[in-house]
């Protein structure tokens, strides 16, 4: 037999075996991946007993999740981002109650100056002052702009960036609550 033919046949056979195995394991692997993602996401929630579930996707909005405790919805979880950080992009998971009160902001990606920009990391006093603020009815703004939020001296740009990310996150909340109304009613 010609070498090329041998190579092609062996390759074809092996590819077939792999394709079958892939077909058989793919659903399981996808399921595991989804589980792992949800488990990682639940770290962004204030209460470790809560679980995370994906809301049906709607339009081009980001993925929006439910947070639930004992199958009772406690609110929404979705990512917010801004490019207005001192060193570019800041990304965070925002969890809000069903009525839009901020529960927790969990920053997961930023390049702010170490030691100054760390004010936006989870459990820092600056980021915790947003807790309880309502996304829609309260004005989210720094004091210098007539709002209620205390900026951190030396990190004004970073402080402002978080306000910017939250303002952008309002639209996602509106999308989330409208999806929710569709589901419930």
């Amino acid at each position: 037999m010609k070498p090329a033919l041998i190579l092609a046949t062996t390759g074809g056979l092996l590819a077939l075996i792999l394709a079958l195995l892939n077909h058989w394991t793919a659903p399981q692997i996808l399921e595991r991946q989804a589980e792992a993602k949800l488990a990682a996401l639940s770290r962004a929630l204030p209460d470790p007993n809560e679980t995370v579930h994906l809301l049906p996707p709607k339009g081009d909005a980001n993925e929006i999740y439910w947070s639930k405790q004992a199958s009772e919805p406690t609110g929404y979880l979705y990512s917010i981002r801004t490019n207005a950080g001192y060193s570019g992009k800041i990304e965070a998971w925002l969890s809000v109650t069903l009525s839009g009160d901020i529960r927790r902001i969990f920053t997961f990606a930023h390049k702010e100056t170490p030691g100054i920009g760390h004010i936006i990391e989870p459990d820092q006093p600056f980021i915790r002052q947003f807790e309880g603020v309502n996304l829609l009815s309260d004005s989210i703004n720094l004091r210098s702009n007539g709002g209620e939020i205390d900026a951190v001296t030396g990190a004004t740009i970073t402080s402002r960036a978080i306000v910017d990310a939250l303002t952008r996150g309002q639209a996602t909340f509106i999308a989330a609550s409208s999806t929710n109304k569709e589901i419930e009613g």
Binding site: P3, L7, T10, L14, Q33, A36
Partner: protein
């Protein structure tokens, strides 16, 4: 012992000790150094490498009649890559979290020169029985070095043994492992620790070999003088 048994015994001991892939041939060092910071990751990769090595040797030995000079390398690589992909998919489906830890290095087994080396040197010229035995011996040789490195580095660097092994594999082991050292030397779980451990293992093996040789020499000189 018959001649055949002696030669098989010789083949087997070659991989485990005399011509150990990790300690003498210094092949497959990338996974060896990279995932041996925890006992469980080291053992997993050791098991996968062992399985792939046996299966690859067997398959390549079977393909001998088709193997011409022109296509032997692509054919061997194809077989090894397919086996590794199979192992990778199965690990991902059944031990997902374990795969998250060492996934990159599972794929890298394809380029593990210890495996291609055996295929090229041994399997493509040997009958299947011999090829399988060679794969088993070389695979076990790689596997035990992997285990020893993993356990040594975890105990020295973290003070524990088999940490997280229970959660990752389903065996009934405590999640934080067995606490053995109170004040671990953190550097042992980082890259330098991998080189230190390997160096000590190689030195240890050479020391034992030299001691054996000089003892044998002593015995022979005693016999001749008496």
């Amino acid at each position: 012992m018959t001649d055949r048994q002696t030669s098989e015994h010789h083949t087997f001991s070659q991989g485990l000790w005399g011509n150990n892939p990790a300690l003498i041939q210094l092949l497959g060092l990338c996974p060896l150094l990279a995932v041996s910071h925890y006992a469980i990751t080291a053992i997993t990769l050791g098991v996968i490498s062992l399985t792939v090595m046996i299966a690859a040797n067997g398959l390549i030995s079977l393909l001998r009649p088709l193997m011409s000079e022109l296509i032997r390398l692509p054919l061997q690589i194809m077989v090894i890559a397919s086996l590794v992909s199979i192992a990778d998919l199965l690990l991902q489906a059944f031990y997902f979290e374990l795969h998250e830890r060492i996934g990159l290095f599972v794929a890298l087994i394809v380029t593990n020169c210890a495996i291609l080396g055996r295929a090229e040197l041994m399997a493509r010229r040997s009958p299947i029985r011999h090829a399988l035995l060679d794969g088993l011996s070389m695979g076990l040789g790689f596997f035990w070095v992997m285990c020893v490195m993993g356990m040594l580095r975890e105990v020295l660097g973290r003070g524990t043994l088999f940490a997280e092994a229970g959660r990752l594999t389903g065996f009934p082991l405590p999640d934080h492992g067995i606490q053995l050292l109170e004040t671990p030397l953190q550097i042992m779980v980082f890259a330098p620790g991998a080189f230190f451990t390997l160096a000590f293992l190689i030195a240890g093996k050479n020391y034992l070999d030299q001691r054996n040789e000089s003892r044998q020499a002593d015995r022979i000189s005693q016999q001749t003088s008496s």
